[in-house]
């Protein structure tokens, strides 16, 4: 591959690549605990293919993006600005936030929506070293009985779920794979 520049690493065929990427994102959000492949974007390090593809699929000048910790590099800023035009912002006003769990925290600083508009909340894209269908037990909408997912911090995510219908929604990304945890999912630390 040629050297990464701010101009490279976007979708090759934006309408088609974005459609496939969204279907993966929608499927995992509708079925918490399931893992799907998602690709099409080639973001600069340290972003994964999955998180870069999610940003290309969902972000544009209407969405404020927070780059947390190591994700906030000049290369990432230029890449994101060139491909999406999304304004880069602080955690408290972000529509999307991306970074590792440690860099993103504490989760309490993100918007959780209002009682009348619970959709006005932040979606966190959490970069994980590891993503597999073991760990915390999940129940709720989208899950037939129980599903399992490796989660970074069960008590914090349980507290987020307790805010329902307010709260943040999460994508977990690892390489070119993605899983999701909407606020509607009940979490038990077992498995």
């Amino acid at each position: 591959m040629t050297q990464q520049t701010q101009f490279s690493g976007g979708f090759r065929d934006a309408p088609i690549d974005a459609a496939h990427a969204f279907r993966a994102a929608m499927t995992v959000m509708a079925r918490p605990g399931q893992i799907r492949a998602i690709s099409g974007g080639q973001p600069p390090v340290p972003l994964s293919v999955a998180s870069g593809t999610l940003l290309l699929t969902l972000c544009d000048p209407d969405t404020k993006v927070h780059l947390a910790g190591a994700a906030d590099t000049d290369a990432v800023r230029q890449w994101l600005t060139f491909h999406t035009g999304a304004p880069i912002t602080d955690a408290a006003s972000a529509d999307f936030a991306v970074g590792t769990w440690r860099a993103l925290g504490p989760v309490g600083k993100y918007r959780i929506g209002t009682a009348e508009y619970p959709d006005r909340s932040t979606t966190l894209i959490v970069e994980c070293d590891d993503l597999h269908q073991k760990g915390a037990a999940l129940t709720g909408p989208g899950i037939r009985e129980t599903s399992y997912l490796s989660l970074p911090d069960v008590p914090v995510l349980q507290a987020n779920a307790a805010l329902y219908p307010l709260g943040c929604d999460f994508f977990f990304t690892c390489g070119d794979r993605v899983a999701a945890l909407p606020r509607s999912t009940q979490i038990k630390a077992e498995g």
Partner: protein, 286 residues
């Protein structure tokens, strides 16, 4: 199809709709506002469903459209052609072959699968709208989970008619939180709302998107002494003989003769192809 962007809408519009769909899936039954676009068809003809379908389709999909169960009515035919022209997707009339189904006012009789998505066209997304016309008030009622008014309405049905007379757009409570209008499907279809497929609802004129993820609890509102009943015309289908499908009543002449036929045309056709015949099947073939 090269004159159009894939699936007609521009990419920024699709991203906006896609973000609304994700929020809708995260908060089942909650109506997410979205910036509905003008579509090349009038409001009331499925512009909400068309926009949700456009944001959901990929080139690999097989698309089916039904209008009150039928594949061959004007609305269904024109929306199917619209996506053939603008997205180049395969289309089908067979429920089992479809991956994305756009529907107006019916759920197919065949049980939908995990890999399918159903998109509903919704005229009035707010179940409380006919009880409270102000959006500011209905928002507050949803936020406070204040749904007493809806039960009063169902109670008034009982006091006037002796039974809950609401026959379509029968209100449901989703995942124990939001009361939702399932779009004007007959209440016969309400039990099917707990399904394996992803359900997306689009209201174009009213600018709302909402969703029900698979395996989500959907309860039709009722009373202990007047439980919910999924009713249908007490007849078998006159073409295919099905006793378990929702029926349309068709007036045959001016002498009062009438017939009952499946509203789901694909279900009826596949049953007849499998050799099931109803009361008037032979006359129909002749």
């Amino acid at each position: 199809m090269n004159e159009y962007n894939f699936a007609y809408l521009d990419e920024q519009t699709k991203r906006m709709i896609r973000r609304a769909i994700l929020k809708g899936l995260a908060v089942p039954g909650y109506q997410v506002p979205f910036a509905s676009r003008e579509m090349p068809m009038p409001y009331g003809w499925g512009t909400g469903g068309v926009q949700v379908s456009a944001a959901t389709l990929t080139p690999d999909d097989t698309f089916k459209v039904i209008d009150q169960g039928a594949d061959d009515t004007t609305n269904a035919v024109s929306i199917r052609k619209f996506f053939e022209n603008t997205a180049g997707v395969e289309t089908t009339e067979e429920t089992e072959k479809a991956t994305v189904i756009q529907t107006r006012h019916r759920i197919p009789e065949v049980k939908l699968r995990e890999d399918q998505i159903i998109v509903y066209q919704v005229p009035i997304p707010e179940p409380l709208r006919f009880l409270e016309p102000r959006e500011t008030e209905t928002r507050k009622m949803h936020s406070l989970e204040e749904y007493g008014l809806m039960h009063v309405k169902l109670y008034e049905d009982i006091s006037q008619h002796g039974a809950i007379s609401t026959a379509y757009a029968y209100p449901v409570k989703v995942s124990g939180r939001y009361v939702m209008d399932p779009s004007p499907i007959p209440k016969f279809d309400n039990p099917k709302l707990e399904m394996d497929a992803i359900q997306l609802f689009g209201a174009g004129r009213e600018q709302r998107i909402y969703a029900v993820p698979p395996h989500t609890q959907v309860v039709s509102l009722d009373f202990e002494d007047y439980p919910f009943e999924a009713t249908k015309a007490d007849h078998p289908c006159d073409l295919c003989g099905a006793e378990d499908s929702y029926l349309d009543e068709v007036i045959m002449d001016d002498a009062g003769n009438r017939m009952f036929v499946c509203s789901d045309t694909d279900y009826c056709r596949s049953r007849r192809a499998a050799g099931h015949l109803g009361r008037l099947a032979e006359e129909d073939a002749a």
